[in-house]
């Protein structure tokens, strides 16, 4: 069965489509990352809330301004001082674990001794900067660089790959790693996409199939149901549902999001499958099955529904991106993901940063999402072309 599927015309056509294969590759990477995080590798939820550096640090690819450099220096020196002062870096840094970059405190007193002159240099530089005399003095820039290098020696190297990448895309206003948060959001996005698309397609297929196949009252009820649901503006329905879960045991989990999406998303596959089943049930092979004496349930499940799989594929793919995009809107309205980072949450937080000209957070969230959505769009089109019986 499986072998036949992979040799079928549809699959061969899909494989020949270069762009679709690239998209499939991109999606595979996202899925791989999703599974790794789902199994507890790469990034864990707590790590996305930890401070990894100064506030709104820029990413590796942007040169920070003098003002930003001074701000970062202040943060790191301050941090170093309080760690040395309390003598146990672990204790003082309990709230602000710099992703494994601990101050090197072999001898706290010696460290404090070394920090004091650094503070003096720092104060002088700040003074110069505030007097707008920083660029006039040719000595000042080398002094700043020297100071930065000195401060850096007082910290250990970051741990592992994630530690080194934690600052790659800078930090947000609370000093949390944008890279880690954007990466972790893949898990949330794919999770929402998979759950909602699967459930919606399943509900849509069952209801649409039943409506078309049994007709009569069943059809009337189901058509009435989806007409009613699609008449309610979808954002409003989402808001009402999200509000309904306030105070319940599911508050703060993803359950309200899943419920809201599944209640609105099943309509599209339901319509399409209903139309297809109406067409299929008139075909003579269905009559042949009746003539043999097969029951109606068996005919529907074994002879009709399997012939709508191409529609299920396409709808799944469309709903998957639909859910990811809707999550952003919902989170933006503060009704979506709670207690966890997601691209929607990040974009919402970034609105304040954007005003002050800091684009790293919104950029990262958008690009991570854009690549996935684009890949899925390309794939949906390719699926449609490859599996639609009218095209083969």
């Amino acid at each position: 069965m499986m072998r036949r599927f992979f040799r079928s015309r549809g699959v061969r056509k899909l494989v020949r489509d270069r762009l679709a294969m690239v998209a499939l590759g991109v999606i595979s990477i996202y899925l791989a990352l999703f599974f790794m995080m789902w199994c507890g590798f790469l990034v864990e939820k707590e790590e996305t809330f930890e401070r990894v550096g100064a506030n709104t640090e820029v990413g590796f690819f942007e040169e920070p301004t003098i003002e930003q450099r001074l701000l970062y220096l202040e943060f790191y020196l301050d941090n170093l001082y309080s760690a040395a002062d309390s003598r146990t870096p672990e204790a003082s840094l309990a709230a602000i674990d710099l992703y494994g970059r601990l101050p090197t405190l072999t001898d706290p007193d010696a460290v404090i001794e070394r920090i004091d002159p650094l503070w003096e240099v720092y104060d002088e530089l700040v003074e110069l900067y505030e007097d707008d005399a920083f660029s006039d003095d040719p000595e000042s820039l080398p002094r700043l660089e020297e100071l930065e290098a000195e401060a850096a020696t007082l910290y250990t190297e970051p741990e592992g790959l994630m530690g080194r990448l934690a600052l790659a895309l800078g930090t947000d206003r609370q000093g949390r790693s944008i890279f880690l948060r954007a990466l972790y959001s893949i898990k949330i996005a794919v999770q929402i996409g998979l759950v909602c698309a699967l459930i919606s397609v399943a509900i849509g297929t069952i209801l649409g199939g039943a409506a078309a196949f049994f007709g009569g009252v069943v059809d009337h009820v189901i058509v009435w149901l989806y007409s009613t649901f699609s008449a309610i503006p979808y954002i409003v329905l989402l808001m009402v549902l999200a509000a309904m879960f306030l105070g319940s045991a599911f508050e703060g989990t993803l359950v309200p999001v899943y419920t809201a999406f599944c209640m609105t998303f099943w309509i599209a596959p339901c319509r399409v499958i209903r139309g297809e089943v109406m067409k299929l049930r008139e075909l003579e092979y269905v009559q042949a099955a009746t003539a043999v004496g097969f029951g109606r349930g068996r005919i529907l499940l074994k002879h009709i529904i399997p012939n709508t799989t191409h529609l299920m594929f396409i709808n799944f793919s469309l709903l998957f991106i639909g859910a990811i995009k809707a999550e952003v809107i919902l989170s933006f309205l503060n009704l979506g993901v709670k207690n966890e980072p997601s691209w929607g949450v990040m974009i919402k937080q970034a609105t304040q940063e954007v005003i002050s000209g800091f684009f790293w957070q919104i950029g990262a969230a958008t690009v991570f999402m854009f690549v996935l959505v684009l890949a899925f769009n390309v794939l949906s089109d390719a699926l449609q072309d490859a599996f639609d019986p009218k095209h083969v």
Binding site: Y285, Q287, A288, A289, A291, V292, G293, K302, P306
Partner: protein, 320 residues
């Protein structure tokens, strides 16, 4: 007693429309058809496209619910039974469809298709399933490799053989063949027809053979029912069809068939006029609008189907 007796079978399809989806009219597909089939016989049903042949055939095995009439099979009334009570008759009565492309599930291999049917009715013990499938495949003249192929890998003629195998799997005694060859190339038609006749002879089947080609019917059937617009206009034996045919429509059908012998001085009547719509039946004879020998009376009154000699029945005022 005849194996199958159909009495006054009527099928109207409601036509819905308007804002409230109310029934706004009916398509009169079959209008009070009566006939009987003797065990072991082949009854032909002939008529042009849209005259209700398929609808009649499907009503007989209740794939379409008839609007009215009665039907006895082997003395038992079928139209009163509920669907679950029909099960014993499902094994006895099977159908071969007109369109070999839409009559096979594209997702089932030949083997899976036959297996489901055989297993559902427990025709053979489980361990004999495969052997029986191969036997059926051989019986309809397909190669053993066909077993693992999907319908799209076959030609139209081969698909029709698969359809025949599916019907035969239940070991029925009565088969409705709904234009089994009309969708096939002429060269393939003869092969499939010969196969059907061989099977009929070997298995002692009773057939209801639907076709729009009187030539084919004449060749294979014992009796023929000529339909026009859902009515029977004539029923007669197939021996000496040309000599006996009385109804002007039957004569026109005979004339419309290509004649092998060019010297045959038969009147090749070409019908003029339009077929009335089954949506809006005429008051008088349904054939009046095209009949070459039409009289005033024909347009006013419906001629009854009257018995002539040798069981021949004709519905016409004009002919004697």
């Amino acid at each position: 007693m005849a194996l199958l007796e159909v009495h006054d079978l009527v099928k109207h399809f409601p036509v819905r429309g308007g804002l409230l989806n109310r029934v706004v009219g009916r398509v009169h597909a079959v209008n009070g058809v009566s006939f009987s089939v003797e065990r072991g016989d082949i009854l032909g049903i002939v008529g042009e496209s849209g005259c209700g042949k398929s609808t009649l055939g499907k009503c007989v095995i209740r794939l379409i619910e008839p609007t009215g009439g009665s039907l006895t099979y082997d003395g038992e009334e079928l139209f009163d039974l509920r669907h679950d009570e029909l099960m014993p008759f499902r094994r006895k009565m099977q159908i071969i469809f007109q369109d070999p492309y839409s009559s096979l599930n594209p997702r089932l291999t030949v083997k899976a298709l036959l297996k489901e049917v055989l297993a559902f009715h427990r025709i053979v013990p489980r361990e004999d399933l495969d052997a029986r499938i191969m036997e059926l495949i051989a019986q309809v003249g397909l190669r053993p490799e066909a077993a693992d192929k999907f319908p799209h890998e076959f030609s139209g003629g081969q698909r029709q053989r698969i359809g025949i195998a599916r019907a035969l799997a239940l070991e029925p005694e009565f088969i409705i063949a709904d234009e089994p060859v009309s969708a096939l190339d002429v060269s393939i038609q003869a092969q499939v027809l010969n196969l059907m006749m061989d099977l009929k002879r070997d298995l002692g089947l009773t057939l209801l053979f639907i076709s729009h080609d009187l030539k084919v019917i004449e060749h294979f059937c014992d009796c023929v029912v000529v339909m026009y617009l859902g009515f029977i206009v004539e029923e007669l034996s197939c021996d000496e069809l040309h000599e006996r045919a009385l109804h002007p429509y039957t004569k026109a059908l005979l004339g419309a068939n290509p004649v092998n012998d060019p010297d045959d001085a038969r009147d090749l009547t070409v019908l003029q006029g339009d077929v009335p719509s089954p949506y809006d039946l005429p008051k008088g004879c349904p054939f009046a609008s095209r009949c070459p020998v039409v009289e005033d009376r024909c347009r006013e009154e419906m001629p009854p189907l009257e018995e002539k000699k040798d069981g021949q029945r004709v519905a016409c005022f004009v002919v004697e």
